[in-house]
């Protein structure tokens, strides 16, 4: 069996993962074969190196962030007393009685739920707000169910409200067409083909998505409006928390107070604060979507000249989207507005060093929030207490 070389078994031999018979034969072969012995020494050295990897302690603030997200998720939370009761019931001596009780409860529930619609299952509740919205060809009277794959449409006079499982609500404005693509505990996804919706979601990040013809809006714990025009262009406006917009390799992170446009075939543009000047926004449109290089260049010059401290949101995103001298210009303007933190160098940023970009973003974010909102005040307190990054968790208190 081991007349041939045994190098393919060497790691398993080092880790004692072979049967005793295999181990004995590998050992015998190693004595007689210089080539396999050489490979064995090399692999054993590699294994010794790998064994130097230490365990890394998780940051102490991690649990707090999880707890905040869990609280917002609305999952039932048992008290210490309830927990004790469950542990008590799970003791072996009570197992039979517990089992009988479960069977009774399940049987009763099955009987009670027989022929009733499944709440929060593979469909969402829809309530008519105005006019005559339709699901497929059926008019929604007061309430209805929107199943996976079904379209909900409103005309010029109608509006509707959708309950997204138990995590939030979406209002559908007139002249809008949406379809439910997916609903499961780990993902809820709508498609907005045309029109406008307003979403308010209280759930952990990355649970609720809206597909549009020119990008996907990914909820990071927030409230926002999203509209799509006849040409498939969309505009996202965030009122609370964060939303990520993405299409293929382009991604924009949009905080409360900011907006971001998308274009078919291009994807998300660069986010900007809605209180930015008209000239700044018009220049950004040129930079994002103009195909003429000269126009883009003029747009960038105008944009940099008119940028405020808060507009570093836009400039930070632009760093990864422009190159060469343009990137250097963006860096210089950002450094004038908010100098980078210690350890973040011009060279590193121009080379798009991810850690440096993130470190600078952490500093810049303090200028991006509007702390006049009560929720933002508490967030500021949390942040200054050093609880770390809370992307997507803002404004949920």
């Amino acid at each position: 069996m081991f007349g041939k070389h045994v190098s393919s078994l060497t790691s398993a031999y080092c880790h004692d993962e072979l049967s005793p018979e295999q181990s004995r034969r590998v050992a015998e072969h190693l004595i007689s074969c210089q080539r396999c012995r050489g490979e064995f020494e090399e692999i054993r050295f590699g294994a010794r190196l790998a064994a130097q990897l230490p365990l890394i302690e998780a940051p102490g603030s991690l649990w707090r962030g999880i707890e905040i997200a869990l609280d917002r998720n609305g999952r039932p939370t048992l008290t210490r007393k309830h927990g004790r009761i469950i542990f008590f019931l799970l003791q072996p001596r009570f197992a039979l009685a517990t089992l009988a009780l479960i069977v009774l409860v399940v049987g009763f529930a099955a009987y009670w739920l027989h022929d009733k619609p499944r709440p929060g299952g593979a469909s969402w509740d829809v309530a008519r707000l105005d006019g005559a919205p339709r699901i497929g060809s059926v008019l929604v009277n007061d309430k209805a169910k929107l199943g996976v794959g079904q379209w909900l449409e409103t005309d010029t006079n109608s509006r509707a409200q959708i309950s997204v499982g138990d995590i939030g609500q979406v209002e559908i404005d007139p002249n809008t067409r949406v379809r439910l693509l997916e609903t499961k505990p780990t993902e809820h996804r709508l498609e907005l083909a045309q029109g406008r919706l307003s979403a308010r979601i209280s759930a952990p990040p990355k649970l609720f998505f809206v597909n549009t013809p020119s990008g996907v809006a990914e909820d990071l714990g927030c409230a926002y409006t999203l509209e799509v025009d006849d040409a498939g262009r969309s505009l996202l406006r965030v009122t609370l928390g964060w939303v990520a917009l993405q299409l293929k390799d382009r991604e924009s992170f949009v905080p409360a107070g900011a907006a971001c446009a998308t274009r078919p075939g291009i994807g998300p543009g660069t986010p900007y604060f809605e209180d930015a000047s008209e000239s700044f926004r018009s220049a950004l449109t040129k930079v994002d979507f103009e195909s003429d290089a000269n126009a883009q260049r003029q747009g960038l010059d105008s944009l940099l000249g008119g940028a405020r401290v808060r507009d570093t949101l836009t400039l930070w995103h632009l760093l990864g989207r422009v190159d060469g001298d343009d990137r250097a210009q963006v860096y210089d303007r950002m450094a004038e507005l908010t100098p980078p933190p210690l350890g973040v160098t011009r060279e590193g940023v121009l080379a798009l060093n991810q850690q440096m970009l993130e470190a600078w973003k952490d500093k810049l974010e303090f200028n991006w929030y509007d702390y006049s909102f009560p929720a933002m005040k508490s967030l500021k307190k949390v942040r200054t207490n050093g609880l770390g990054k809370l992307h997507g968790l803002e404004g949920k208190k």
Binding site: I43, R44, F45, A50, Q52, L53, I56, I86, E251, Q355
Partner: protein
């Protein structure tokens, strides 16, 4: 020395979580979930750190993993070991995050994680930390196919069978990937031969 490392890994992964805690988590018991979090947080965070090479991203991903875990723990039926089930979730989340990072901005492989706190052991000295740093960087340079079995073996102390179950491949594939990974490490860090106790 390999045997010592294996023993340490085994002690590290002795499962402090029993079926009752998992059942309580499935019932939504926050305290049981806290127990589970405390038992696995360092291991999950370590995998995320080594896999992503970025402490901030590892922090976010670890948080997402535990949130997913809490949402999905009801789906755990006990057909496999809980740790195997959990590590599958961890590996998938890390791979997703890497894909996401690539979409947004080019990520430098394993930039230094200056703020990372390594668990101290009595033998932790300057030289050993230096070696550990070099090993971490070298592991960061491996392809995910080779890196993941290394992490599951040396950080989590899983057996070949468990690694195969987590990665959805055969034991033979695990053995072969570990072989290639060991060779690659030995080649990249050949200058450390004299510094490691043989």
């Amino acid at each position: 020395m390999l045997e010592q490392t294996a023993m340490q890994a085994e002690q590290r992964v002795q499962d402090p979580i029993d079926a009752r805690v998992i059942r309580a988590c499935q019932e939504g018991d926050r305290e049981a979930f806290r127990l589970l979090f405390e038992a696995y947080k360092d291991r999950v965070f370590s995998i995320a750190c080594y896999s992503l090479g970025d402490e901030a991203a590892a922090d976010d991903v670890t948080q997402q993993i535990f949130l997913k875990l809490f949402t999905r723990i009801g789906q755990f039926r006990g057909d496999s070991e809980f740790s195997t089930w959990l590590y599958r979730l961890v590996i998938n989340s890390c791979l997703d995050e890497r894909r996401r990072q690539r979409r947004f901005l080019p990520v430098e492989e394993f930039a230094p994680m200056s703020k990372a706190v390594y668990r101290k052991s009595p033998e932790t000295g300057y030289e050993r930390r230096e070696i550990a740093g070099s090993v971490r960087e070298a592991i960061g340079g491996l392809k995910p196919k080779m890196r993941l079995p290394i992490l599951l073996k040396y950080v989590e102390g899983l057996s070949y069978e468990e690694i195969a179950e987590v990665l959805g491949c055969s034991k033979g594939t695990v053995a072969s990937r570990l072989n290639r990974a060991h060779k690659a490490l030995a080649k990249r860090l050949s200058h450390l031969r004299g510094e490691l106790e043989i």
